[in-house]
Symmetry: C3
Subunit: 385 residues, 3 copies
């Protein structure tokens, strides 16, 4: 049954992508435009490094679930990118968007999906990650269409979210949280998530790869003349959150937590997303410091409290790395972006939260129909040897 | 004696590269051309990441041979690139090819050599990897000259192989298989190759680095305007093989194999090589699915059968990751590339197979003259501490 | 007290960077210039990969100090980059340098700081790495100003040092050595530094990431037309040092040392720095071979001798990877660069050595005032779990 679903899934993708072939007809025209596109391509490759090596290894912190986490990463990316392309091909006017822009938008969807999957990591069977991807992408695209492209006419005005603090990070985190709410079992709640020296070092590798390429994520679709400034803002925000994480971790826990260092250091990148091309460098640094402090507070204080209260597990703490800092970034835009449409920005944030929550709850219920891992956070059940 | 050979090897390289200095005289001319070259340079760096981090760590799956695998990778790259440059300097008209194109061609040779070395990994002494490189590069360049540049007038017509499915992947794999055939010992055949959690995670790291930068490998020498489309094709092919690998692995083995996930996921990149700039995206996705399925079939079914029958060991299974998918890609071009010269394409494939097999067998015999590791797949023999 | 210092440090940074916001006003003008800047941006990202993943993981060779080494790397980078920006904003005429050039210069400072920190790795408390960064950057910038920008009128003529053999590598190594001299304790001298299979493989990962992106480090600020040639020189130098390291390691130790392979392989990149855009490829290869041999000689022979004689510990052996090869590179320029101002070059090297040594000694004394780790080379003291 599981396999049948899988094969159907492949075949569907396969047939639909065929329809998508029209995009091949596009041609980049003049050389200067072509060079600009190749530069976008470079950033697209950087983002791919974030998706696979970055998100993948960040999740390897679960000691006995490393092979599964990496395999799940592979599958989530490989399902979501063709699916998003499909949507672009079916629902967009041909040539309305450049093929390289489509690729980058598809990568954004994959990033949001990986964030979402982090919340339930270790508790889905491998095939269910694929299903999660199939469920997630349409909801993600629907929200993106409403919030950024004026879909349904719900939001009248521009929502400021260049690097996706709202539609990528907050959306993915809230969706994931709600999937976790729908389907966390008592056994999963009771099972501790183990780490060791080696899983921590792998996790820090993932973290660093994300840090390094984050400027390319935020500047992916920015005009060439704005790329350097955007990059500097993102780097200063990341420096700010890294420094803040260290001090906050020591202050709140007494000692440094490797998990804080691997995660909250990146909160500056999440929060500067919305305004990465608009903020002044000093402001970016402040946004980063705030986000790092907030995120560490989330991991050190809120997480254990919320886990106990709700008896629900957010495996990777995506609420604290992507959720809260993402919302912080979306709201910070109100103070940073001059001439911002405040109503549009707030509606955009609200709509994103509602769609993410509702679709996450529904998706969680659906996923739960397809059975569960017997033993959470363990490779053995599904891997040979 | 071993050391003497090494020093001679260095000195030879050294003297010959001096002759190669003429290439420094080249100048990139106009700014637009210079910018285009810098973009090629970026892809050349991406390929270098594949060669060292990608191929290197993919081979770390052999648990107790990690330091050796990485050292061998370093040496194979460091010998083959200057050697190929040398050949370019001695046998090509000056300025006939841009210096950055030469670098990329040299990296292609290094990639093919690393594939070849994968077949006998763990069974050569470190100095023999260097010797393998010295033997391999001239044969590789000879085949490349015949198949792609009309050498000897053997092939009258264009062979379609932009990303090297035939001349890089299939050539390297067949050469390596034949080296293995020439020199596998009974002891090596009997020794199991051990993995563990950590070696698997390192291997998946290598795999992901290859996946991420594969578009730059295929698009390395493609014109700027064609880069985005080529990249999308390669990414869709990789998505296809990744999804197919998961389902095929489950189907054929009952459980997922981390080795399948680390290797067969990449088969889409191998197979789309020949037609990466020509295929439609939907076709690329199909090619990827087919290659992933074929490669997993190779690892799960053919490998153990062939190993038993021939009593020969292909350490990394390069026949199944690079050999069969490479041939698949070369043949797929017959259906994908419009106006293809069928005779030329088939002759190109055949010539590549013959040259690779013959030169591999000869090279294996020569390598065997220089002694062997006493204990296969172990670092200790050659590393201190 | 330690925390107080930290918070003051953040607040100072924070206020000062605000002043730095003027740089946001810059605008890249025409498209061709913008495209050139985006290409520099790409190299800046490559350098960031070297700083975090490269230097970070290279230092993970200390088995039980991996989480600390990576956290320290994060903090050193996050402190030095905003600090250097600050200096640029306060002491440079606005718009005199492009924002992307500033970023790259800041990354150079961070690289030099990481080299410096390698000498005392495992013996500072985490907060002291931050303090080390705060002390280091002004001295580094002061030396850079004197040697490369004619500060104080001390050097009349151009010092050849495109890729920073002198001002980045030798400066950082000598500074670090002198910090180590000021503050190595008897206990630290007596404590062995342990490695294992896994720490070695992580260290080789860092090494390979440095190797791969080294051409972007050297070519970061080079004109587009010179990038390909520079890259080829750097790659040939690295190939040369890699081959030489293998033979020298075997020759001098009887067996291969994984530490030699992880470190001395990079010496070619260090040494070609000064003349990376001027050397002929054959010369670059020779420089690389010499540097690899010299560096391996340092690790295999000088290190144990010097450690015993001085009873001081250089944890990562930065003198042998960055110090000696850096000086070699600076001196090699006398023979390689035509029309070089010999007096200026020699004065530049001398001034760098003097400033680095003096400021390193002073900084070491200051750092020692802030207490010390009780147990060197161990994560446990400062990390939870």
């Amino acid at each position: 049954m599981k396999c049948l679903f899988g094969y159907l899934c492949i075949i569907t993708l396969f047939i639909l992508v065929i329809y998508g072939t029209v995009l091949a007809a596009e041609n980049s025209g003049t050389t200067l435009a072509a060079l600009t596109d190749v530069q976008k391509y470079n950033r697209a490759i950087h983002i791919m490094a974030m998706l696979l090596v970055g998100f993948g290894f960040l999740m390897v912190f679960v000691k006995k679930y490393g092979r599964s986490a990496l395999t799940a990463t592979y599958l989530l990316v490989s399902v979501s990118i063709p699916l998003y392309f499909l949507k672009e091909s079916l629902f967009s006017t041909v040539n309305s968007v450049d093929v390289i822009d489509k690729l980058i938008l598809a990568e954004f969807a994959a990033a949001s999906l990986l964030i979402c999957a982090g919340a339930v990591l270790g508790r889905l069977k491998m095939g269910q990650y694929i299903l999660l991807g199939v469920l997630f992408v349409p909801f993600y695209a629907f929200n993106e269409w409403i919030v950024l492209n004026g879909g349904l006419g719900l939001i009248s005005g521009k929502v400021i979210d260049t690097g996706g603090s709202i539609v990528i990070h907050a959306f993915g985190a809230i969706f994931g949280m709600c999937v976790a709410v729908s389907m966390t079992t008592a056994k999963e709640y009771a099972t501790p998530i183990e780490c060791d020296d080696t899983s921590d070092r792998f996790s820090l590798l993932g973290s660093m790869v994300l840090w390094v390429f984050w400027p390319s994520f935020c500047a992916a679709l920015v005009a060439p003349a704005d790329v350097p400034r955007t990059a500097v803002n993102v780097i200063l925000a990341l420096c700010g959150s890294t420094i803040a994480t260290y001090f906050a971790s020591i202050k709140m826990r007494g000692k440094i937590s490797a998990a804080d260092i691997a995660n909250a250091t990146l909160a500056g990148g999440v929060a500067i997303g919305s305004t990465c091309d608009l903020a002044l460098p000093g402001t970016a640094f402040i946004v980063g410091i705030s986000a790092g402090g907030l995120s560490t507070f989330g991991f050190a204080i809120i997480q254990s409290w919320l886990t106990n209260v709700t008896r629900r597990v957010d495996t990777c703490g995506v609420l604290y790395l992507h959720g809260l800092p993402g919302l912080l970034g979306g709201i910070a835009a109100l103070f940073i972006a001059s001439g911002i449409n405040i109503a549009a920005q707030l509606t955009g944030i609200l709509v994103t939260m509602v769609i993410a929550a509702a679709s996450g709850l529904v998706s969680g219920k659906m996923l739960a129909q397809f059975g569960r891992k017997l033993e959470p956070y363990l490779d053995e059940e599904e891997f040979c040897e």
